[in-house]
């Protein structure tokens, strides 16, 4: 056992002597492995980044919130089946909440009506367009996914009275009131003045598409005063246990059909949406990246492996006499096999480390220069690339190493 350990150390020692003596050759040979490792780890960082960005985005939607809307969160080909669906109204929320309350062991907690509409807003000279104005009840506090950074949300009285108070998304607050507190300031929304009573904490962009911070939350009653009572709503329904989202969705479906007085034969005239819908849309993107990355990796590693196999054959040829000498001194077959395998693996490991360092540099660079691009380095990437390097080394070094181990010592010693 200890003999194997000594032979291992000896093999690594020879390998590094050999690589140092042929530095240029070794680096060129490792190039394929370097490219392969960069490809596989870059792919990994991209997928990691997408996953993390995705998780953050889903958290903005709320992991425990079901969205009742006219349209589903996916592209539909039969739009005519949806266009005539009745609008969702505030009374639906009230009825739904009554059903929830009267259902024993309901998986649902509360249904909150939410209206949303794009608008431009003003404060003094500063104008901001494309802001989402959200109108809701005081129950909004139960489904809001952002923290309140300053102030508060409107209360029951303000909500029911339709008082003109508002809570600003973080980027709205920063733009309208740069460098000064937004609380108690006045925001002009379509000619109506709303007093700022709170500011939400920063949430970020949803899948890099639009910002959750570019919104203003006001009482729904205030919104209806100016924009009409027939405004299209959605219901956000909080579930009690997010691990039972599927069952909760079924319960909600039945309850909504009752609210809408639908006949058993009728198809739902509403859609229940949840974050899960986005996963399905994201998966093809991720697998596309994975396939491209694996293809490049595979190609580079294949070329790299052939290069390393070749260099190991050359190394065995050059050192035939040395192999003969080692055998004369008592090296067994597996000792010689190990020696050349370790040499091939060492070159691959050096390639792997260089590749990892490159990827790490690229990831840091992207972070700094292009913060919108999702990249995320992780420890498992180190493990994966080391494993890939070692396997490449073993696969490509095996044949030449086996050849070396089987050399007849007499023939090897005669070799000039």
């Amino acid at each position: 056992m200890t003999r194997t350990i000594y032979e291992f150390t000896e093999s690594f020692r020879i390998a590094f002597q050999q690589i140092r003596a042929n530095a240029m050759r070794s680096v060129l040979t490792a190039l394929g492995v370097i490219i392969g490792i960069v490809a596989v780890t870059l792919m990994g960082t991209a997928i990691n980044g997408i996953n993390i960005g995705f998780q953050n985005s889903l958290a903005m939607l709320g992991e425990d919130i079901l969205y009742v809307q006219r349209w589903p969160w996916r592209n539909v080909d039969d739009w005519w089946n949806y266009i005539n669906r009745p609008a969702i109204r505030i009374e639906h929320a009230e009825k739904l909440n009554r059903i929830i309350e009267s259902t024993p062991n309901s998986l649902l907690e509360v249904a909150v009506p939410v209206a949303g509409r794009g608008s431009s807003v003003k404060s003094g000279d500063i104008k901001l367009s494309g802001v989402t104005i959200i109108g809701s009840t005081s129950d909004y506090s139960r489904i809001v996914t952002a923290d309140i950074a300053e102030g508060r949300l409107y209360n029951d009285i303000e909500a029911n009275a339709g008082r003109q108070v508002c809570v600003l998304g973080s980027s709205v607050a920063e733009t309208l009131f740069p460098g000064r507190p937004a609380l108690d300031q006045v925001v002009d929304i379509r000619g109506q003045h709303f007093t700022v009573i709170g500011v939400l904490a920063k949430q970020g962009e949803f899948l890099g598409l639009f910002s959750f911070d570019n919104q203003i939350v006001v009482p729904l009653a205030a919104l209806r005063k100016y924009w009409g009572s027939r405004i299209d709503l959605q219901l956000r329904v909080k579930v009690k246990d997010k691990t039972k989202l599927m069952q909760a969705e079924e319960e909600l479906q039945g309850a909504m059909r009752r609210v809408r007085s639908q006949l058993p034969a009728e198809r739902d005239n509403f859609s229940i949406n949840q974050q899960q819908a986005f996963k399905a849309q994201l998966d093809p993107v991720k697998s596309g990246i994975a396939i491209a990355g694996l293809f490049i990796t595979g190609l580079a590693l294949f070329v790299g492996a052939i290069g390393i196999m070749n260099i190991t054959f050359v190394s065995v040829k050059e050192r035939t006499k040395e192999i003969g000498t080692r055998k004369a001194l008592g090296a067994r077959r597996r000792t010689i096999l190990l020696q050349f395998l370790i040499e091939a693996v060492s070159i691959c490991l050096i390639g792997g480390v260089v590749g990892l360092a490159l990827t790490f540099g690229i990831a840091v660079g992207i972070r700094e220069k292009l913060p919108a691009l999702p990249v995320e380095f992780s420890g498992s990437l180190i493990f994966i690339s080391m494993a890939v390097s070692i396997i490449t080394g073993i696969v490509s070094g095996f044949l030449p190493a086996l050849g070396a181990s089987r050399l007849d010592p007499v023939v090897a010693l005669r070799y000039e």
Binding site: T2, Y6, K321, L329, G330, R333, R334, L413
Partner: protein, 246 residues
């Protein structure tokens, strides 16, 4: 039978009494196939070598000296015949068993020194001990002792290209000695050295013999062979003569 001339240079030539049997070969043949041609490198050799012997194997080029040497050194196995090494039949051993015997029982000295060019003298000498599975501290101690025994205690960190030919061969001899082998096998050990350096190497073998080593030297030079106490002459794969030298 051509008896060698008694060497005048050596006045005191103590010959140690032969000890236990180390090598016993009988009817050993070795065939090489070269395409359609079959070469009889050895045609039935019989030889016994005991501990404490100092033997020279002589003969013209192509007579089978190296083939016999490789056989004795367990680098090769006979096509036919019996070979007992220290009472163990090695004629049919497989590669790794032979490697074990080479590692523990045999010390090789080559004409071309065969040192690892990128390793220093110390590491070159340690190599057989690594294959024997000896711990780093123990093998360093043994290697240092072997190097000082050949007079190279002050050259342990020199690489082969920083040493003279004679010094390289002494490193190789230290490497052959380091495992306390039963025999030392030297194939034309002075072949790549000038005659003065060659004499120094032969003086070193003399010293090792005095210390109790068993030595077999292959050479085609009479001047070298006459250092030995026994000379075996080969011709065309057969032993032509086997004589004690005094």
């Amino acid at each position: 039978m051509t008896a060698p001339a008694a060497p005048a240079a050596h006045i005191h030539r103590p010959t140690r009494p032969p000890g236990a049997l180390v090598i016993e070969i009988e009817g050993v043949t070795k065939l090489y196939k070269m395409g359609a041609e079959i070469i009889h490198a050895l045609r039935g050799v019989q030889l016994t070598i005991r501990r404490n012997e100092y033997l020279a194997i002589m003969g013209p080029s192509g007579s089978g000296k190296s083939t016999l040497m490789n056989m004795l050194g367990c680098l090769d196995t006979p096509t036919d015949g019996r070979y007992d090494f220290n009472g163990k039949n090695v004629a049919h051993m497989v590669d790794d068993e032979l490697a074990e015997i080479r590692n523990r029982e045999i010390g090789f000295v080559f004409q071309t020194f065969n040192l690892l060019p990128r390793s220093d003298a110390l590491h070159n000498v340690e190599l057989p001990l690594i294959y024997a599975g000896m711990s780093p501290s123990a093998r360093r101690e043994r290697a240092l002792a072997a190097l000082s025994n050949v007079g190279l205690a002050d050259r342990i960190h020199h690489k082969p290209n920083e040493l003279s030919g004679g010094q390289r061969q002494r490193v190789a001899i230290a490497r052959a000695l380091v495992n306390n082998p039963s025999i030392i096998l030297a194939d034309e050990p002075t072949g790549n050295l000038d005659s003065k350096t060659g004499e120094e190497i032969m003086a070193l073998f003399e010293q090792l013999y005095d210390q109790g080593q068993t030595i077999i030297v292959v050479t085609h030079e009479e001047d070298i062979a006459r250092h030995a106490r026994r000379i075996v002459r080969l011709r065309d794969g057969l032993i032509e003569s086997d004589a004690r030298v005094h």
